[in-house]
């Protein structure tokens, strides 16, 4: 259990000074805006890296809280008291059984299935976004979500005492809906896919003056994902891995892990090293993988049809940047079908005791596919990012993992069941009364 539940009290000067367009470099004040007025390119936070280089050391980070806020100097908040609900510093697990099964020697799982407080990587981005939202004076926060973000925004808004209204596609898994409603936000279940939800939210953001974490607060929000890069570097003993595999939805997480590694190199916290970046998509929603395969530098949007709802974004905002990162790092972007995704969930659970959701199943299935295709060297130090928890998407695996034996409270009933368990295929156990 993390001990970082109280806010950090360390006083640090702000290390960020402006927003800058990633495309045309136009600069803007640090307000709640997310795109360039001239070319509509995304805005990025500008940091003073020479100041960071002078003031941040491995020791100063290690002396910080056991949460993402140990990296506060690299995050776009000015507050002395960021919203710290123990987010981050999740386990980096060196796998043995999964590595052996796949034929790898140095495979790690970054396990955000147990991130706090809502069991997905989204708690990282939301902790940053809501801290910044409070600084900018918002009293109502909102988001367009495939589920995990809604859970996280609702929970952390509750903790911070902010009003909250979230928008989700109406067909989400029950666990994700319940795991939002419990915190008491207003929930809009939109009859449409995520891309339609997102468009609607962009329109609402124009008119309602709310802080949408992944729209008008997006430049701040997305920076939270860099902590997935920082933590892996620190947990590997202040060095970078050789290869990472992560799920791609909008592509933001992927590009921000890359940015996190680059920043640590830039300020001298780790040695420079070429890290390969490989991305995972579900075949039923794989616009970035298709562009990668076809050698395109633009994304054709698709209409999602996959069990992996958490990453079902047909019109990915950072798709072109994810393509660029995969190509320039000599990585790959691959897709897998729904059956392979379920097998990926089961494989991770059966070999490492980690129950992930469909995005994690996609990542493990793509990892396996890349190894089988010879695209990951067995000696590479490889990190697979598991970003969400399987208890939220139980429908996905229902019917694919068997059922318990139902037995009478008698020794011979147990003995007969045990014998059958050793002779029957697992899925034939279903609802057998022995």
């Amino acid at each position: 259990m993390t001990q970082a539940i109280q806010a950090s009290t360390t006083q640090t000067a702000a290390t960020f000074s402006a927003l800058r367009c990633k495309e045309c470099s136009a600069e803007y004040e640090l307000k709640a805006i997310h795109v360039c007025e001239f070319c509509f390119g995304p805005l990025e936070v500008v940091y003073d890296y020479s100041a960071l280089r002078r003031t941040v050391t491995r020791e100063s980070i290690q002396a910080g809280p056991n949460s993402i806020w140990r990296y506060r100097s690299f995050l776009p908040v000015a507050s002395d008291r960021p919203i710290d609900v123990g987010t981050g510093m999740t386990p980096l697990v060196k796998t043995n059984r999964l590595a052996r099964r796949l034929g790898l020697k140095n495979l790690y799982i970054k396990n955000d299935a147990v991130n706090m407080p809502t069991l997905s990587f989204k708690d990282r981005v939301v902790s940053v976004a809501l801290t910044r939202a409070r600084e900018l004076g918002f009293t109502t926060v909102s988001c367009a979500s495939t589920g995990n973000l809604a859970n996280s925004t609702a929970a952390i808004a509750a903790h911070a005492g902010l009003d909250c209204c979230v928008f989700i596609p109406a067909d989400l898994e029950a666990g994700k809906v319940l795991g939002t409603l419990i915190y008491g936000p207003t929930v809009m279940a939109v009859q449409g896919n995520y891309d339609q939800v997102n468009r609607l939210c962009s329109e609402v953001a124009n008119t309602h003056g709310w802080g949408f974490v992944n729209i008008n607060l997006r430049p701040y929000y997305s920076e939270g994902s860099k902590t997935l890069g920082y933590e892996v570097a620190e947990q590997l003993g202040w060095q970078l891995p050789d290869h990472i595999v992560a799920p791609l939805a909008s592509g933001s997480l992927f590009t921000k892990i890359y940015k996190g590694f680059q920043e640590f190199i830039k300020v001298g916290l780790v040695d420079d090293k070429a890290v390969r970046f490989s991305g995972a998509q579900a075949e039923g929603c794989s616009p970035i993988a298709q562009a990668f395969r076809e050698g395109r530098d633009f994304i054709n949007p698709v209409k999602p049809n996959t069990v992996a709802k958490s990453i079902a974004i047909g019109n990915p905002a950072d798709g072109v940047y994810a393509l660029d990162v995969a190509r320039k790092t000599n990585g790959n972007i691959e897709s897998v079908n729904d059956a392979e995704i379920i097998d990926g969930i089961k494989l991770l659970a059966e070999t490492e005791g980690i129950f992930t959701e469909t995005a994690g199943g996609t990542t493990i299935a793509v990892l396996k596919k890349l190894v089988e295709a010879g695209k990951i060297d067995p000696d590479e130090t490889t990190v697979a990012y598991i970003t969400g928890n399987g208890l939220k998407t139980q429908e996905a695996v229902q019917g694919c993992i068997g059922e318990p034996f139902t037995i009478e409270p008698k020794l011979d009933s147990f003995e007969r069941a045990l014998e059958r368990s050793q002779t029957l295929d697992r899925l034939e156990w279903q609802q057998v009364l022995v």
């Binding site: 509509f40 995304p42 449409g192 997305s222 909008s250 209409k303 905002a317």
Partner: protein
Amino acid sequence: MSVKVLIPTPLQKFTSDQATIECDGATIAELLDALEQSCPGIKARLCDDSGQLRRFINFYVNSEDIRFLDGQNTALQAGDEVSIVPAVAGG
């Protein structure tokens, strides 16, 4: 052939801070020209030098992305709602 156009915040300085305006056009391409007539300067923000829509801007007709329709040639009917949305959002 009047359609309703939803204007994103970064472009509202061209529309006197109006979030929606009425405009005419039989296609998206014609609508762009009509928008320029009533809000001078707006087309250069939406299109590059060759007249193509910028890569970070999406157009929707009655909630459908025009890339699933006929792009800039997508036909418009009276009463349609055209939404202009920055592409970088969500995720």
